[in-house]
């Protein structure tokens, strides 16, 4: 019969009395250290903005941009109409001068820039991007603009800035679609800070070499090419850096249909529109949709620890 004897306890097994009495202090210090490390990781990840990106580096070399008629004649812009082919006409009544853009919130240097200062104060470059609408259609658009990172950098975000909120214009006298309460106006969108400073995230001020047409979001809009189009707000007036995740218009209206992240993902279904395939404007036959709208190489690392099926 085998009888096991308990292991003899030694001094090594006894916690030092000072440590034992200081255990709560130890926990709080450890938590603070971990917390600080996390904040540092999450906040303001781009002291320097990325280099400009050449089209070839994200697989746009073989893409043919849609025609100007297509890009300016088919616009999802609820501020004017839910009819995408009526926006071209209705948006012309919008006055875009004067216009100011404010950057505030968790920043050391809040800014209010006049649109002319904004248009001349940044070096714009051409970016040919795919645009994938949540409604299942897509286009290829040659934007002009600059990285959002460059604008945010001037406002000097604090280490507390973890999210960015965008607010579009509310002016129902000219934006007649705002007389409908289809959405809670003004239109609001948001990004995580690391998404906002990603080199692909653009402040678009032009299209096909001309200033941005009104139906495409003049005088300036955000373009986030790996997310569904509604994450790229038009005619923005306010950018606010925030500690908490901001509320966003479509997410508030139908959280089950429109997530905060809204990354283009053929594996997350929408109750109305097929996300597996897309209708490329100019082609009658639908084609398969790619994860992150084909920008996985550039952005997939942002979501390494995120379950994209629950954080859609």
């Amino acid at each position: 019969m085998l009888i096991r004897r308990a292991k003899e306890l030694t001094d090594n097994d006894v916690t030092d009395r000072d440590l034992y009495l200081g255990r709560r202090r130890f926990l709080s210090v450890a938590a603070a250290a971990l917390g600080a490390a996390w904040v540092e990781r999450a906040a303001w990840p781009a002291p320097e903005c990325g280099e400009s990106v050449s089209p070839d580096s994200f697989g746009m070399a073989d893409e043919v941009p849609n025609s100007l008629e297509q890009i300016t004649g088919y616009n999802n812009y609820y501020e004017f109409s839910t009819n995408k082919e009526a926006v071209r006409i209705l948006a012309q009544d919008l006055r875009i001068n004067p216009w100011t853009i404010t950057v505030d919130g968790e920043v050391e240097n809040p800014l209010t820039l006049d649109i002319d200062a904004l248009l001349t104060g940044f070096n714009t470059e051409e970016r040919i991007y795919r645009l994938r609408c949540v409604e299942g259609w897509s286009m290829v658009i040659p934007w002009q603009g600059f990285q959002l990172c460059e604008l945010l950098k001037r406002a000097k975000p604090t280490s507390q800035a973890k999210y960015v909120q965008f607010m579009s214009l509310k002016r129902s006298s000219e934006m007649i679609g705002q007389r409908q309460t289809s959405l809670d106006w003004p239109y609001r969108e948001g990004l995580r800070i690391d998404e906002a400073v990603h080199p692909l995230t653009l402040v678009a001020t032009g299209l096909y070499g001309e200033s941005l047409p009104k139906q495409n979001g003049a005088p300036l809009r955000i373009v986030v090419p790996w997310k569904y189009g509604f994450k790229s707000p038009k005619a923005i007036t306010h950018i606010r850096l925030m500690r908490e995740q901001p509320t966003t218009s479509w997410n508030t209206l139908a959280p089950s249909e429109y997530g905060f992240y809204a990354n283009v993902n053929p594996d997350v279904a929408h109750p109305r529109w097929s996300q597996r395939r897309e209708n490329r404007i100019g082609e009658l036959q639908k084609t398969p949709t790619r994860i992150f709208n084909g920008y996985a190489e550039q952005v997939a690392h942002l979501y390494q620890n995120l379950d994209l099926r629950t954080h859609y």
């Binding site: 008629e69 297509q70 004649g73 088919y74 609820y78 839910t82 995408k84 082919e85 409604e135 259609w137 409908q180 289809s182 959405l183 209206l253 139908a254 279904a269 109750p271 109305r272 097929s274 597996r276 395939r277 209708n279 404007i281 009658l284 036959q285 639908k286």
Partner: protein, 256 residues
């Protein structure tokens, strides 16, 4: 009863000639030109399909031709369904109005029963446009990928509603021939009442497929709700008194 229409027409003309100096009322003229009216409706219902084909081949469907084709075929299916469902209330209310306005001509001049004979052709057009609608979806949208179709139907309630609609239309279409109608007797009417389910489901399909803020489906929903409420009301005798003639007379069946 070999040629009921001809004998009725001759009675009408002789009656009006003898008893009144007024010209024959519109009702009588329309009834007398049934073939003309049939062709008018036949070509009218065909026109949207022809227009769509012309627009597709000449690239006039707007920026997003696929969406235009899907929406227009769906819209015309629904419009023709509404027209088909209007036949019975129209016939009843016209008969009622005629009786009210021309009571001195007696019942014969308030005979609008011929209207119901347009219903078969219009009903077949509903199926025709439903086939176009489904065909455009299967060919351009999902490229005949049955696995994909299965996944999409399971994920999207609007596709489930649309599929049920289409499946319900098949038996209605197959029982169109007069011979089948006669053989089925009262079961034919029972079967064809499922068109009310089709109409309700088609509206649900449209509402679920449309994006928020789009008011178009509600217009169709209102019209279909009115037409279905009319039936309910007639059935239970709420507003419309249940007529002695229950409005379900089918001329094709009495041709023998």
């Amino acid at each position: 009863m070999a040629m009921p229409n001809k004998s009725r027409t001759s009675t009408r003309t002789s009656t009006s000639a003898h008893t009144t100096r007024h010209p024959p009322p519109l009702a009588a003229w329309l009834k007398g030109h049934y073939r003309l009216i049939w062709w008018f409706f036949f070509l009218g219902a065909l026109f949207p399909a022809v227009a769509m084909i012309v627009r597709t081949t000449t690239d006039q469907l707007g920026v997003n031709p696929l969406q235009a084709l899907e929406q227009q075929t769906g819209k015309w299916t629904l419009i023709l369904l509404i027209v088909t469902l209007t036949i019975t209330p129209l016939r009843r209310s016209l008969s009622y109005l005629s009786k009210l306005l021309h009571s001195r001509y007696g019942k014969r001049l308030s005979d609008w029963n011929w209207v119901i004979r347009l219903r078969r052709m219009l009903g077949l057009y509903v199926f025709f446009y439903a086939c176009l609608h489904l065909g455009v979806f299967l060919h351009f949208d999902i490229s005949w990928d049955w696995t994909l179709l299965n996944q999409e139907v399971q994920e999207k309630p609007y596709l489930l509603a649309g599929s049920v609609c289409f499946l319900l239309l098949i038996p209605l279409t197959l029982t169109t021939p007069i011979a089948v109608m006669r053989r089925m007797g009262r079961h034919w009417r029972r079967l064809h009442r499922s068109i009310y389910i089709v109409a309700a489901l088609a509206i649900v399909h449209f509402l679920w497929a449309a994006k928020s803020g789009d008011t178009r489906p509600w217009i169709f929903a209102g019209v279909v709700a009115f037409l279905l409420l009319y039936r309910l009301s007639a059935y239970f005798g709420w507003v419309i008194r249940k007529p002695k003639d229950d409005g379900m007379e089918v001329p094709e069946r009495s041709r023998l």
